[in-house]
C-alpha cells in the first residue's frame, strides 16, 4: 500500500501547490469577506424596515429632538425614541408605503430636501417624543398635504405607532 500513499502524497502536493501558485490567499480572504459582509448588507439581521437614503444630506443636530431639521412638517411620535430611527421602523411595526411628503431646509448645507414622513404602523401609539411642528401643514380638505390624517394606509394594520422622516430628493430653488 506504500505506492498508494506515495501516489496520494504526490497528487495532493502537486494540486495544492498548483492552487497556491495560481491564487492568492488575500484574494480568497477577500472573497470570503465579500460574501460575509455582502450577505449581512443584503439580508438585514434584525426584523426592522430600513430605508436607503438618496441623496444623503449633510447632517447636524439630534435626530431624537423635535428641533431636528427634518421634522419641520411632522406631527407625531419620533420613531428614534420608540426603538426605531429617523428612517427605520421599530421592531414589530410595519412602514406604510403610502405617505405624506414635504420639504425642509437643512441648516448644515442650506439646501431644501424632500422629506417623506412614512408612518410606522401595527402597534398602539408610541407616546415618546411627541413632535408637532406642522410647518406647511394644510387642513384635511387638502389631504395630500395634511398631517392630521392617519397615514397607516396600505399596511396590514392601521394602528399608528410613530413617524419617520426619510429624505427622498432635493427640492428645486424657488
Amino acid at each position: 500500500m506504500k505506492w498508494l500513499d506515495g501516489w496520494l502524497d504526490k497528487t495532493t502536493e502537486s494540486s495544492v501547490r498548483g492552487i497556491s501558485q495560481k491564487t492568492s490567499r488575500r484574494g480568497f480572504l477577500g472573497k470570503i469577506a465579500g460574501v460575509v459582509i455582502g450577505g449581512a448588507a443584503t439580508v438585514p439581521l434584525l426584523p426592522v424596515a430600513r430605508s436607503q437614503e438618496n441623496p444623503a444630506p449633510a447632517e447636524e443636530g439630534d435626530p431624537n429632538s423635535c428641533e431636528y431639521w427634518r421634522y419641520c412638517a411632522i406631527d407625531g411620535f419620533l420613531c428614534g425614541c420608540c426603538g426605531g430611527s429617523m428612517n427605520s421602523c421599530p421592531p414589530g411595526t410595519e412602514m406604510s408605503p403610502i405617505t405624506w411628503i414635504g420639504t425642509c431646509e437643512n441648516p448644515a448645507d442650506g439646501k431644501s430636501y424632500i422629506v417623506s414622513y412614512n408612518d410606522c404602523c401595527g402597534k398602539s401609539s408610541c407616546g415618546n417624543c411627541l413632535c408637532q411642528r406642522n410647518e406647511g401643514d394644510r387642513p384635511v380638505y387638502n389631504p395630500r398635504v395634511s398631517n392630521d390624517i392617519n397615514w397607516c394606509l396600505g399596511t396590514s394594520s392601521n394602528m399608528y405607532h410613530c413617524s419617520t422622516a426619510i429624505v427622498i430628493g432635493t427640492a428645486l430653488d424657488e
Binding site: P97, I98, T99, W100, I101, G102, T103, I114, S116, N142, R144, V145, L153, G154, I168, G169, T170, A171, L172
Partner: protein, 148 residues
C-alpha cells in the same frame, strides 16, 4: 459661426429640457408619489397604477380627458403649465410603451380647460373608459381579463 451657434442652441435646449424633467420629477415627488409610490406602481385595491398603464388612456379622447379630470390632477396645487409638464413627463417616464404611435403631449391650455370639470366618481368612470378601450386594444383586454 453658424455651426457654433447651432450647437450652442442645442446645448441650451438640452439644458432647458433637462431642467424641466427635473422639475417634473420634483413635482411628482411632492404632489403624487405619497400615494402613487416612487415608480408610479400604485397600491392594489387602494391607488390605481400608472406604471406600464397610464399611456393606454391616450388611445381615446375621453381617456385623455380623464387623466386630467381625475380629482388628484384637476384639484392639484400646481398651475396649468406645471401640470401639463408633469403629466407629459410621467407618461413618457412610466408608460412609454402603452402610448399610441401618434402621441400628442398635453399643453397648459388643454389642461386649464379640462381641469375645470373634475370627475365625480373616478373609479366608475375609469372602468367604463377602460372597458371601451379594451375593445380596440387586445393587450389591455387580455391584461384586464387576467386580473378579474
Amino acid at each position: 459661426m453658424a455651426l457654433v451657434r447651432l450647437s450652442l442652441l442645442t446645448v441650451l435646449l438640452a439644458g432647458a429640457a433637462l431642467a424641466d424633467d427635473e422639475r417634473a420629477h420634483v413635482n411628482y415627488m411632492l404632489h403624487c408619489q405619497g400615494c402613487h409610490l416612487p415608480e408610479a406602481q400604485g397600491f392594489e385595491g387602494k391607488v390605481p397604477p400608472m406604471k406600464d398603464f397610464a399611456g393606454y388612456f391616450l388611445h381615446s379622447g375621453e381617456g385623455r380627458e380623464f387623466l386630467i379630470r381625475v380629482p388628484g390632477v384637476a384639484q392639484s396645487a400646481l398651475n396649468d403649465g406645471e401640470l401639463a409638464e408633469l403629466m407629459n413627463w410621467l407618461l413618457v417616464t412610466f408608460s412609454a410603451e402603452q402610448l399610441p404611435d401618434r402621441y400628442v403631449p398635453f399643453t397648459g391650455d388643454e389642461v386649464a380647460s379640462l381641469r375645470q370639470d373634475p370627475v365625480i366618481d373616478p373609479a366608475t368612470s375609469r372602468e367604463l373608459i377602460l372597458n371601451r378601450l379594451s375593445a380596440d386594444i387586445p393587450v389591455l383586454a387580455a391584461e384586464r381579463q387576467q386580473k378579474n
